[in-house]
């Protein structure tokens, strides 16, 4: 993966296979290329060389729209900065993936999922009325509501204090187990990384 005119190489020689249901953590210092790897796995970014296969499908043989459609079917996200839509209530944020795919009953599924993350009482609250931990739980509900095969989590506790961070992580693993989702979790927190089945260390763009 290169960037810019000066051939800034961000990731090289990555050969990685993640099997169904597995929980993989990617650790590394800032700038080690973890986030870029995640973006590539999600098909948000394209590599200058190389392939990513998701569910047997070559991501970069598809165009951006087809990748988006694939994401909609198969991938869930949790971000460090939550990325909730500020104008939408907790319930509406959680409904969004199903609304976009037009499948099932978005409201029913979202209500159930929000109840599962302990926010049954806060459905009509806006993100700014929720604490950081609550916002990330809404994000979890949004990530799992469409029953994705792959969940990509980018520093999910990075913006949270230790206590609410722990609560979110516990919930994340529980949901992951319940739904049999494959999890790729990017973090710089070693203790969190160890809780995943497998851990991968990135340093200067290579698997260390």
């Amino acid at each position: 993966m290169r960037s810019g005119a000066q051939e800034l190489v961000i990731l090289r020689d990555i050969d990685l296979e993640v099997t169904r249901g597995e929980a993989l953590s990617v650790v590394g210092a800032s700038g080690s290329g973890k986030s870029t790897l995640l973006a590539l796995l999600a098909g948000l970014d394209t590599p200058s060389e190389g392939r990513v296969e998701l569910d047997g499908q070559d991501l970069f043989a598809l165009d951006e729209d087809a990748r988006a459609a694939l994401r909609g079917r198969a991938v869930g996200f949790v971000f460090q900065s939550f990325q909730l839509l500020p104008a939408l209530t907790a319930l509406e944020n959680a409904m969004l993936p199903l609304e976009l795919s037009g499948k099932g009953d978005p409201e029913k599924a979202a209500r159930e999922m929000l109840a599962r993350v302990g926010l049954a009482e806060r459905l009509q609250h806006y993100p700014r009325q929720l604490s950081g931990g609550e916002q990330q739980r809404v994000a979890l509900a949004r990530a799992f509501v469409a029953r994705p095969k792959l969940l990509l989590a980018d520093e999910p506790t990075g913006s949270l204090d230790a206590e609410s961070g722990e609560a979110v992580i516990r919930l994340l693993f529980e949901l992951n187990r319940e739904s049999g989702t494959t999890l790729v979790l990017v973090t710089h927190d070693e203790s969190l990384a160890k809780r995943c089945g497998r851990s991968l260390r990135l340093a200067a763009g290579r698997i260390g």
């Binding site: 973006a39 948000l44 988006a68 694939l70 909609g72 079917r73 996200f77 500020p86 104008a87 969004l96």
Partner: protein, 815 residues
């Protein structure tokens, strides 16, 4: 679709679509209100066409119709009636009133109805026939003005006539817009006894015909061939062209104003959409992450905006309908007709403008949303819309220009409006930019430098809105006042028209006896322009409407051997009393293309004479004295039949002299200039009052632009304020910083607006009214004050918003 609907509801709830919806509704409302109104007036004209004409075919001339014409009408088998009309004084006791006299023959009106009542306010009924000889039917206004009642006598010229009924509805008048003199209807047979039709009287002669369509059209074809000068045919198709022209002109200007509101609304829509897009970048990136494809996103947002557009258009059309109802009600006094209900067609037209605005100004920024990369969720700097998006508005701008030109009806006027608007915006922007830049050198306003360009845009928007407001409030009144004052204190206030040669000396004696300074009395000979430099002239030679009218009508020629004192020679030399020479007014010479040395040929009473132009005269029309376009030496014109005209001043309190004068000289018409001016002003006031609705739309749209322009920098201001608070600035310090900035903008915007209004006022004064407009201190104080007040309010609101949230929250939201 349903998702778009839900998105619409959510965005609306978040307050992100309010301005957009209001701007759109406003644009549609302003366009539809004018559309509905024009539609109703147009349909009233069509409906009343028969009524307006009083026949299927009307021949109008400024001289009696030839016998052959009348014989042709009789021979065609069509029904036939005759009439003539003129203005004259109606007298009763000491009271006198100028009246529009119409004398009709049996059978009038051939089409439409005449309704009369036995007393003012009494129930009316359709008239049976026409006033019997010796009696008149009169407008209610005349009954009031003269204090006469039904059954009493009224004097017209030399004849006493009995008031037999009050007219409640009259053909040819039901849509008469301007009605200076109340009507007196009498029997054609009574006219000779009044002695009012004499050489020099302005009389219109009518021949009416009605019959089956074939008969009428055959008759029309036959008569059209032999039409002479000063003769015309009015039919249902051409019917009352002057009313149609007036309506079209009014509609054109109202339509232009409405479209200007639409253009302003378009700017507001573009600004609001841009803000909408900026606020949705993150959300769209998340949706891309969650699997929304580009086409899907575009469809979702396009559908959302389409639904918003549909709702706004509906609301706008409804608002427009209400506004035109107000417009109609306000104009009821001017427009003497009850208007039919409007058709839905103008709503469609308004919706079309709405769609054009949405496509032209909301779509370009909206399309950028689909290009937001999903990766933005991780790298926030990606996918911010480029600043160079101005080109993408070209489509919208071109569409609106086309609409403006189309509404203006002719491309030159349209180009003036579009150009004027664009130039005003650019000039305001540049002036605001420079002013703010130089202000920013001052210590207290240093912060102006930070958003110099954005601030200049906001200031220009403010200036534009305020200019409209100042024009409506100050400049309008200033112009009217200046116009009224432009006449000298001792200016004549009555015109005497139609004096016969043998009445000139008695009139002078009469006035001297009453202690009224004896005015100059000028002879007036009516002649047609036949040729210029030997080349025959017809109205078809001129494009200019006023030039055509001048050529088509008879000129009032006068003869004097000395230059009247209120005239000045602008070019050439004064007349040589012994030669065939002419002195012409420079304005009319310019309009008709006459130059010094040209030879004009006039026909007077069947005889022709030619004379050379040896001087151009400059007149002061506002002197209220008698003026002539063309003056010749006495020797040249003395032999022709003439009537005499004069202007004199009757001091307030001595109006009784007018009544006495009218009794002594019954054929002389006394025009009360003051009353006419007052009537004209009442009409203008009524019109202005009515069209204020439309200007209010434009004003509201201008304020919306201002609001959007201010909103565009609000997020940034909020972040900056939060940052300053984090760095230890007190709330007061933060508030003071933005206050200084806003106040400077308000001041500059206000001064620019006053400048703009004064400039436009000056232009109107010089070009249209030909008067000097004195400087109005109130305008120069109010403009800047209004600017300061508006932006102080904004500064206060903005400071409250900016400071309400804890800095951490603001910063976290914006990361």
């Amino acid at each position: 679709m349903s998702l778009s609907w839900r998105m619409l509801a959510r965005d609306w709830r978040a307050g992100e679509l309010g301005v957009l919806g209001v701007a759109l509704a406003l644009a549609v409302a302003s366009v539809t209100s004018v559309g509905f109104f024009a539609d109703r007036v147009g349909r009233a004209l069509a409906r009343d066409a028969h009524q307006l004409l009083g026949a299927d075919l009307v021949l109008v001339a400024d001289h009696p119709w030839k016998k052959q014409v009348i014989e042709k009408i009789s021979a065609s088998g069509a029904k036939h009636a005759q009439a003539l009309s003129f203005v004259s004084m109606a007298l009763r006791g000491d009271a006198s009133q100028l009246a529009g006299v119409k004398a009709v023959s049996q059978g009038y009106p051939l089409r439409g109805r005449l309704r009369i009542a036995p007393a003012p306010g009494a129930p009316d009924a359709e008239a049976q026939g026409i006033p019997p000889p010796g009696s008149v039917w009169v407008d209610e206004r005349l009954v009031t003005d003269l204090g006469t009642g039904v059954g009493q006598k009224l004097r017209l010229g030399r004849q006493e006539l009995e008031v037999a009924a009050v007219i409640t509805l009259e053909p040819e008048r039901s849509a008469g817009f301007f009605n200076f003199a109340p009507r007196v209807l009498l029997n054609l047979a009574d006219v000779p006894a009044t002695g009012l039709v004499q050489p020099g009287s302005r009389v219109s002669y009518f021949e009416y015909a009605a019959g089956s369509p074939e008969v009428v059209s055959r008759l029309q074809d036959e008569l059209k061939k032999d039409l002479g000068r000063g003769e015309r045919i009015e039919t249902l198709e051409t019917g009352r062209p002057e009313i149609r022209a007036a309506v079209e002109r009014a509609q054109r200007f109202l339509g232009l104003t409405a479209l200007l509101a639409a253009v302003l609304a378009g700017v507001a829509i573009a600004l609001a959409t841009r803000r909408f897009v900026e606020r949705h970048l993150d959300g769209v990136a998340v949706m891309r992450c969650l699997g929304a494809t580009q086409p899907r996103l575009l469809r979702l947002y396009a559908a959302e905006f389409a639904m918003l557009g549909a709702i706004a258009c509906l609301l706008g059309a409804a608002l427009g309908y209400l506004a035109q109802a107000g417009l109609g009600a306000a104009l009821e006094g001017v427009l003497r007709a009850d208007l039919p209900l409007a058709t839905p067609w103008p709503a469609l037209q308004g919706a079309l403008v709405g769609v054009a605005l949405l496509l032209g100004f909301a779509l370009p920024p909206l399309v950028q949303l689909k290009n937001v990369p999903a990766l933005r969720v991780m790298r926030r700097e990606l996918g911010s819309p480029g600043a160079g998006a101005a080109a993408s508005y070209a489509g919208g701008f071109v569409t609106l220009c086309a609409l403006l030109v189309w509404q203006a009806g002719d491309s030159r006027l349209g180009a003036y409006v579009v150009g004027g608007f664009a130039v005003a915006l650019v000039v305001f922007f540049v002036a605001a930019f420079l002013a703010l830049k130089s202000l920013s050198r001052l210590r207290f306003a240093r912060d102006l430098r930070r958003h110099l360009r954005a601030n200049a845009v906001q200031t220009a928007a403010l200036a534009l809105g305020l200019t409209a407001l100042l024009l409506l409030t100050f400049t309008r009144n200033d112009l009217v006042d200046a116009w009224r004052r432009s006449a000298p204190q001792d200016a004549p206030n009555r015109f005497l028209i139609g004096l016969q040669p043998d009445q000139v000396s008695p009139m002078k004696l009469f006035l001297a006896g009453k202690g009224i300074s004896v005015p100059d009395i000028y002879p007036m000979v009516r002649g047609r322009l036949v040729a210029v430099n030997g080349t025959p002239v017809s109205e078809a030679d001129y494009d200019d409407e006023r030039a055509r009218r001048l050529v088509e009508r008879e000129f009032n020629l006068s003869y004097v051997d000395e230059l009247p004192s209120h005239n000045a020679i602008a070019a050439g030399r004064w007349l040589d009393p012994g030669k065939a020479e002419l002195s012409v007014e420079e304005g009319v010479a310019g309009r008709l293309g006459w130059k010094l040395g040209d030879e004009l040929t006039f026909a007077v009473a069947g005889e022709r004479f030619g004379a050379r132009i040896t001087s151009l005269r400059r007149l002061r029309w506002d002197s209220m004295k008698v003026n002539f376009f063309v003056i010749a030496p006495a020797k040249l014109l003395e032999r022709f039949p003439a009537s005499f005209i004069s202007a004199l001043r009757i001091e307030p309190g001595r109006e009784a002299v007018v009544g006495e004068l009218a009794r002594r000289f019954p054929n002389v018409t006394v025009l009360d200039v003051g009353a006419m001016l007052r009537e004209a002003q009442r009409l203008v006031d009524q019109l202005v009052h009515a069209v204020q609705f439309i200007f209010l739309f434009a004003l509201a749209a201008g304020l919306l632009v201002l609001y959007c322009a201010l909103g565009a920098t609000e997020d940034e201001r909020r972040r900056e304020a939060a940052m300053m608070r984090v760095l230890g600035a007190s709330r007061r310090q933060v508030a003071r910083r933005s206050r200084a900035e806003f106040l400077a903008m308000g001041l500059v915007g206000g001064v620019l607006a006053a400048l703009g209004a004064a400039l436009i006022g000056e232009l109107l004064a010089r070009r249209v009214f030909e008067i000097d407009l004195p400087i109005n201190a109130a305008l120069w104080i109010s403009g800047p004050l209004a600017g300061l007040a508006l932006l102080s309010l904004n500064a206060w609101l903005s400071a409250r918003k900016v400071l309400a949230a804890p800095p951490a929250l603001t910063l976290r939201d914006s990361v």
